[in-house]
């Protein structure tokens, strides 16, 4: 089994003001989906959800607001899963709530350094 990081990309919509029920629904959808990965024994780390505040440091020392570089898309959170292959890992993203709201899920292998 290897570990993979799953990154959730989405385009935030500043117009969208969810009701408490909608927030509750969204939270449940995420927890149910992650619970499903956990039930397979493949949730290595539940990761974190990221907020909208951000700053970026550039090579020339300048600091800009926001996590947005050139794209409007931001990383909304991550988890770490374990799977035999990257093909299996990407299949785990089936049913991810990020997908149902038009976002994307990116899976990356985590490098292992021997002796470090």
């Amino acid at each position: 089994m290897k570990n993979f990081m799953m990154l959730f990309h989405s385009e935030p919509n500043p117009e969208f003001n969810p009701t408490p029920e909608q927030i509750e629904e969204e939270v449940k959808a995420w927890q149910d989906w992650m619970g499903g990965i956990g039930a397979q024994g493949k949730l290595k780390n539940p990761g974190e959800a990221l907020g909208f505040e951000g700053k970026t440091m550039h090579a020339d020392g300048s600091i800009t607001d926001g996590p947005y570089a050139e794209v409007k898309e931001i990383v909304g959170g991550f988890i770490i899963v374990s799977a035999d292959s990257i093909e299996e890992a990407i299949q785990l993203s089936n049913g991810c709530p990020a997908l149902s709201s038009g976002g994307k899920v990116e899976v990356r292998d985590i490098m292992v350094f021997d002796g470090m």
């Binding site: 619970g35 499903g36 397979q40 539940p46």
Partner: protein, 407 residues
């Protein structure tokens, strides 16, 4: 002489006496302590069979144990003085002191922490805790753990040896060591309780006693000032909720009754009340352990069926799976999913679990298909479950279900 009363006294005093002998007198030899305690009980049986049980039997036992230990040291001293006179002079002085309740309590505490040694494996830890902390006989332990006397004896022997070697280095624990070992102690108590609660043996009395002993130990820990309390309270709450269903659970003729098969009027309301009290106490502060989550799940199971109930249970299982994975948690979560979301979703998720050689898993699939009125699939999975069930009473239970489904 009342045999039942006698065995109760012996059982409850067993661990007290050993703890005092070991800790108060600095005895690192568990075997010697056990021998002295056995000798004490033997003398008590002889003396009491003529005169009846004395007014203060526990004090009587403590006095005799103390005398036997002193006698042992005297003999040892004489031996050492004769063989090695130069060492004899330096021999440690044994003061004869009354064994008080306070001394017993301190000794018990130290004993729990020495015995719940993180280096021991699960089974050895269970055996030694049941034997020394709870005073169960080797035979009772063998029956409770579905094993035989020889195996249990071997496990206990090896565990004692390991503990003795380690205690040469750790003669006494500091308060920070107590706190850092607490997690392991709680784990052993949790294992003990589960062993009593889920065991498939029909020895109802032993099973109940193991559960009560686990609760007694954790209540004892919760009274000690040095520990952070939330975790301990959560564990107590969890055990109270489970124990409240113990009578209802073990009242089936063929094996234990599952939650939905139990007669709810047999649930112990007093224990449910206590469970709630401790669950509330455990919520002070912001520590969330698996005991908190499991206690909260057990709490919801005591509640009436409401719309939110199963979703709460599902979310607690989801959370639990982020802390720890086990096939049982995964299966329970899937069952909760069927009630909270939909049976179809649960079936889909159940197939992803792939617990290929676990008969509980195939029973779960059969149950989900049963809920979905898919009798063919139910029978198919019950047949698979029978293949992997290895205990007779489990096979019988599955056969009963097969019969019902085929009608």
């Amino acid at each position: 002489m009342d045999d039942k009363q006698l065995s109760e006294i012996f059982k409850s005093e067993y661990s007290n006496l050993i703890a005092v002998l070991c800790n108060y007198y600095g005895l690192t030899d568990l075997q010697l302590a056990e021998d002295i305690v056995s000798d004490t009980f033997l003398r008590a049986m002889k003396a009491w069979s003529h005169k009846g049980i004395p007014e203060f039997p526990k004090a009587w036992l403590r006095k005799v144990a103390q005398n036997l230990l002193n006698e042992h040291y005297r003999r040892k001293k004489i031996y050492e003085e004769k063989i090695t006179p130069e060492l004899g002079a330096r021999n440690q002085q044994i003061n004869v002191i009354e064994i008080t309740d306070k001394i017993i309590e301190d000794s018990q505490l130290q004993m729990i922490f020495v015995l719940c040694d993180p280096e021991l494996n699960r089974e050895s830890q269970l055996c030694i805790a049941l034997r020394i902390l709870c005073g169960f006989s080797i035979e009772e332990i063998a029956r409770a753990l579905l094993s035989n006397k020889e195996t249990i004896n071997k496990k206990i022997y090896r565990a004692k040896k390991a503990i003795k070697e380690r205690n040469r280095i750790e003669t006494s624990l500091t308060s920070s060591q107590y706190v850092s070992r607490l997690d392991n102690v709680l784990r052993v108590i949790y294992l003990m309780f589960n062993e009593g609660y889920y065991s498939s043996v029909n020895e109802e009395n032993i099973r109940h006693e193991i559960c009560w002993e686990a609760m007694r130990l954790s209540l004892f820990l919760s009274e000690q000032k040095i520990f952070p309390k939330q975790k301990i309270y959560a564990l107590i709450a969890l055990m109270c909720f489970h124990a409240s269903r113990l009578d209802a659970r073990t009242s089936g003729e063929k094996g234990d009754l599952l939650y939905h098969e139990q007669d709810k009027s047999k649930w112990n309301k007093d224990l449910i009340q206590k469970g709630r009290k401790y669950l509330n106490l455990s919520a002070a502060g912001n520590v969330v352990t698996k005991y908190h989550l499991e206690a909260a799940i057990a709490y919801w199971h005591t509640e009436e069926e409401t719309k939110g109930k199963w979703n709460n249970i599902l979310q607690l299982y989801n959370k639990l799976l982020t802390i720890e994975y086990s096939p049982i948690i995964a299966m329970n979560r899937t069952y909760a999913l069927a009630h909270a979301n939909s049976i179809d979703e649960a079936i889909q998720e159940a197939h992803k679990l792939e617990l290929r050689d676990n008969h509980h898993y195939f029973c779960l699939l059969a149950e989900l298909y049963h809920m979905n009125n898919n009798i063919d699939k139910e029978i198919e999975y019950l047949n698979k479950a029978i293949e992997f069930a290895n205990k007779e009473n489990e096979k019988e239970l599955i056969n009963d279900k097969l019969e019902k489904a085929s009608r």
